[in-house]
Symmetry: C2
Subunit: 244 residues, 2 copies
DNA sequence: CGGCTGCGTTGATGTACATCAAGCTGGCGC
DNA sequence: GCGCCAGCTTGATGTACATCAACGCAGCCG
């Protein structure tokens, strides 16, 4: 797999889909805190690319030369064990950020789930821009803190919740995040397959499938076509998610 | 439980144990990037307190008025489900930071494991100091990124590793962190009880206990007095941890 | 149109870990 | 010293979820 920097030669990838000025998710992203003047400075160091579904954006262990912002579509981040066991550590939707790294290497692999558009920043250039605009730094810090809180919620889920509670939590999370992007929070779309859901929740595809049908049977959700889920009784789902 | 701000009235708590100038873990902490002049500014807004074992420092949901740095001893962070199930999201040792929060509320409860000394900063004051010293901001960002990477490792552990692999990973983690603090990395001390280990790894105390004896039987560790563990075959433990 | 393929669902069985239940041990107060 | 208690270990049993296996179904391509 070639590094993403060679993106022009990759299949399923297009460049410069839209400029920052018309960015649809600007208020959600790192860019929210910058005014038009500052955005134009950011625009100088950004490249917007379009990636087809199921393509690798970067791999665990690669030199972390870029950071990314998803503007539309869905991506996933995951880590692998040597024998192939996989843990998806997060799904990314429009407005989400990825690629922060500690030691100059990516700590996980990033892959698109559906067709996705992404802003790519050269890390070095972003660093200098952070020096220039402290509020950019502040914003990134704030985003990292939010992600950290989400990671802790996920630890609680993985370590202590049942399959039923995990699926319910997952649905609530997707619904909430859709709302934050200004989309309807019900029914909720599942752009990822059962295997991805399983690897995100620490389950198998079979258990994910069974649990969906079980929730359907108990009447709190309904499975619609196009992998969408109708949250019939949102309060009940919320209670299940919290283990009440 | 009273808020920690009322610490002077709490039992098992002492104030101003040592000043920043003689801080034993300064190179590990947020303070590492500041020179003596700047440290003295930081010292103005810090209070060093000593807390006995098994005391709550702050609780999930409390207003996040302070941030903390552990200078010695051990603390744990955890989240609870309504029915009492608990997930410990992290252990803190000398040099570790805690209390970052997104929405002005702590996202978890912090409790001491052993007797612990802690630096307490008023968040508001730290914020203004961050404006003044951008490298302080930068440092906190870097610490948050490191924590985020650790959180992702922990997700992999909780979601995909077996009990045996979890315990092995835990021992390696403790050993590595002891080394980073300049302590010997073997044998490794376990200041926390089996219940805490279980709630950190998503297991029960019984399984933790059985797994320790199983690792002992297979000859890769030895259980010493004072809750210390001798890592007899470190490479083997490392391989178990990575699921090889 | 028909076969192939990937994905989801459902069923039968297995198992790693939880749960329930004793003992064991060491520290501590009296 | 003795008894008590909390924490650790060990054993017997249970179960939630994994594994193994089959099947349905839609999309796709020849």
């Amino acid at each position: 797999m070639p590094p993403f920097d060679m993106v022009r030669s990759m299949t399923g990838v297009g460049v410069d889909v839209h400029p920052c000025g018309t960015c649809p998710v600007r208020p959600l992203t790192v860019c929210a805190v910058l005014d038009d003047e500052e955005i134009s400075r950011l625009a100088d160091i950004v490249q917007t690319v379009r990636v087809d579904a199921q393509h690798t954006i970067f791999s665990e262990g690669d030199p972390a030369t870029n950071v990314f912002n998803v503007t539309s579509g869905t991506a996933k981040l995951y880590k692998l064990l040597p024998d192939g066991r996989r843990q998806i550590t997060g799904f990314l939707f429009g407005g989400d950020f990825m690629g922060l790294s500690v030691n100059e290497r990516y700590a996980y692999t990033a892959e698109t789930v559906s067709a996705t558009t992404i802003c790519r920043f050269a890390r070095r250039k972003l660093d200098t821009l952070m020096d220039e605009f402290p509020k950019l730094q502040r914003r990134l810090f704030s985003l990292a803190s939010t992600e950290l809180a989400a990671a802790q919620d996920q630890m609680l889920l993985l370590g202590r919740k049942t399959a039923r509670e995990k699926i319910a939590s997952f649905l609530i999370m997707l619904s909430d995040r859709a709302a934050r992007r200004g989309q309807r929070d019900n029914p909720v779309a599942l752009p990822m397959g059962r295997a991805d859901i399983a690897d995100y929740l620490g389950l198998t595809t079979e258990t994910v499938s069974r649990t969906f049908t079980q929730l359907k049977s108990s009447g709190v959700i309904s499975l619609l076509e196009n992998n969408r889920v109708d949250l019939i009784d949102r309060t009940a789902i919320h209670e299940i998610a919290e283990g009440v």
